[in-house]
């Protein structure tokens, strides 16, 4: 018995991998079925659905970009303090002191742009192939929610470097909250004052300050990504449940 046979015949190996790897139709099914990640796929799929020119792979790339954001984001969290005394200094620290810090931040920033861009293209592809039509209506709705959450994730992250770009972009953005009809202090027909309107909820204050930085940080690193994770799970699961990937009727 060779070492390979010994390992692959052991109880430990067999408890992890429940099939052998000979290329047989039965094993092709088992590979997909017995792996929690791979079993997102059905065992068989229409030929056209494997073609890049049909799907553009945009949903997949968006999800991959999200995973890249999670991993680089966790690494960045080791070096970042969400307080105004440190936030900007931490950017400089990443730039000049942390090994590969600048590249880490670059990948995180460009990955976010990529994710927003590919999710927009994904929506375009799904529209062009009519893939939102019965029985897939509700999965499109979840998709629109995920698109919105992607934009919000990116937007909340934009404040964290605490530079001039961030500060004024978020000031402009959250001033829209103050313009909400009824619930914004500067909007039409306000029934609130500036200490309890929509902008105050977003910023934890009337202007962008320490509370806003903390709120955006918590939303950016845990609150929104957690919802996105659950949303993605439902989105992927429903592809299968709502009739699989779209095909000509």
């Amino acid at each position: 018995m060779t070492l390979k046979e010994k390992i692959m015949g052991s109880q430990i190996w067999k408890s992890i991998f429940r099939h052998d790897f000979e290329d047989t139709p039965s094993n092709r099914g088992k590979v997909i079925r017995s792996n929690v990640f791979l079993h997102l796929h059905p065992l068989r799929i229409p030929e056209h659905a494997m073609k890049i020119r049909f799907t553009w792979c945009m949903g997949g790339i968006t999800f991959f970009a999200f995973l890249v954001e999670c991993i680089t984001g966790i690494l960045l969290m080791f070096y970042y303090h969400p307080v105004i005394e440190y936030a900007y200094m931490d950017m400089k620290y990443l730039q000049f002191d942390v090994p590969f810090g600048q590249i880490l931040r670059n990948v995180h920033r460009w990955g976010a742009h990529l994710m927003v861009f590919t999710v927009m293209l994904h929506m375009l592809r799904v529209f062009l192939t009519g893939s939102y039509k019965k029985p897939r209506e509700f999965n499109w709705v979840i998709g629109v929610v995920l698109l919105t959450l992607t934009l919000l994730m990116s937007f909340t992250g934009y404040l964290l470097p605490w530079d001039q770009l961030a500060y004024w972009a978020i000031t402009v953005g959250t001033n829209m909250g103050a313009a909400t009809p009824f619930f914004g202090v500067e909007g039409p027909f306000p029934i609130v004052d500036k200490f309890n309107d929509v902008r105050f909820v977003l910023l934890g204050g009337t202007t962008v300050g320490a509370n806003a930085l903390l709120r955006f940080y918590v939303a950016h690193v845990i609150a929104i990504p957690a919802i996105v994770f659950v949303g993605c799970a439902i989105h992927f699961w429903r592809i299968r449940k709502d009739g699989g990937i779209s095909r000509p009727l």
Binding site: V68, P161, A169, A179
Partner: protein, 245 residues
């Protein structure tokens, strides 16, 4: 004999189906892996080539001019030129999100699923693509053609305001005229498709028809206002002490 043939046909059909529906493993996961590798390479090269922007430290007392939103929100910021914040920053984005979610429930045309079929879905395609490219267009203008005080500059122009911008006096259209014009706009929008017996309009029940037309009228009001503002120098259609539109 007949039974045998039936069984043979069935077997053949099953074999055909299997042929048209190949196994996912190993082709699809391999393609996905390759896709991930390519994307990661692109990201790494991009990250080595360009640094993430970092301005000076945030200083609340020193206003940035222009203060631009991140690019994916710059389309909305661009529309701020044409509509007040309560509409362009709050109501319009909300309508866009709700309208997008409503698409599958409004588009009852069963054709064109799983294929790129423009001719069977002309109405849906034209309107969606119009909205989509309007969004892209607003992003491009806002990102590359707006300078200090949100003045217009071509990408190759210097942001110096050396006489590119003549002061334009904007005026408000009288409220009564506007209300009549908007009423005509709405009336035409609601009646014309039915009058011309357009196919898509015939296939929609009343609820779907009214919602579809309302959403489209609101969408096309955006370019209408752009034209009114840029060519006819109109500021507001409706101006009151409480609310402007």
């Amino acid at each position: 004999m007949a039974e045998e043939t039936a069984a043979a046909l069935k077997a053949k059909a099953r074999a055909d189906k299997k042929k048209k529906n190949p196994h996912v493993w190993p082709e699809l996961p391999f393609k996905e892996l390759m896709c991930a590798v390519v994307v990661m390479l692109v990201l790494i090269v991009w990250a080595l080539w360009l640094d993430a922007p970092l301005g000076e430290i945030a200083t609340p007392s020193r206003t940035e001019n222009p203060a631009k939103a991140p690019w994916y929100f710059i389309g909305l910021q661009e529309i701020l030129v044409y509509y007040d914040p309560w509409y362009s920053g709050v109501i319009l984005p909300s309508i866009i999100m709700i309208g997008l979610m409503a698409i599958p429930y409004l588009d009852t045309n069963p054709k064109g699923v799983g294929e790129y079929n423009f001719s069977a879905r002309k109405f849906a395609m034209v309107n969606f693509l119009f909205g989509y490219f309007m969004w892209m267009f607003a992003i491009v203008v806002g990102q590359f053609m707006r300078g200090p005080s949100w003045l217009f500059f071509w990408p190759w122009q210097v942001w110096d305001d050396s006489g590119h911008h003549d002061e334009v006096t904007l005026f408000n259209i009288d409220n009564k005229t506007s209300i009549i014009a908007l009423a005509i706009y709405a009336l035409v929008g609601f009646v014309l498709p039915k009058l011309l017996k357009m196919k898509w309009a015939k296939n929609l029940d009343w609820t779907r028809y009214i919602i579809t037309i309302s959403l489209l009228l609101l969408m096309y009001l955006v370019p209408v206002k752009v034209v009114l503002r840029q060519i006819f120098h109109v500021r507001y259609l409706i101006a009151t002490p409480w609310i402007n539109f």
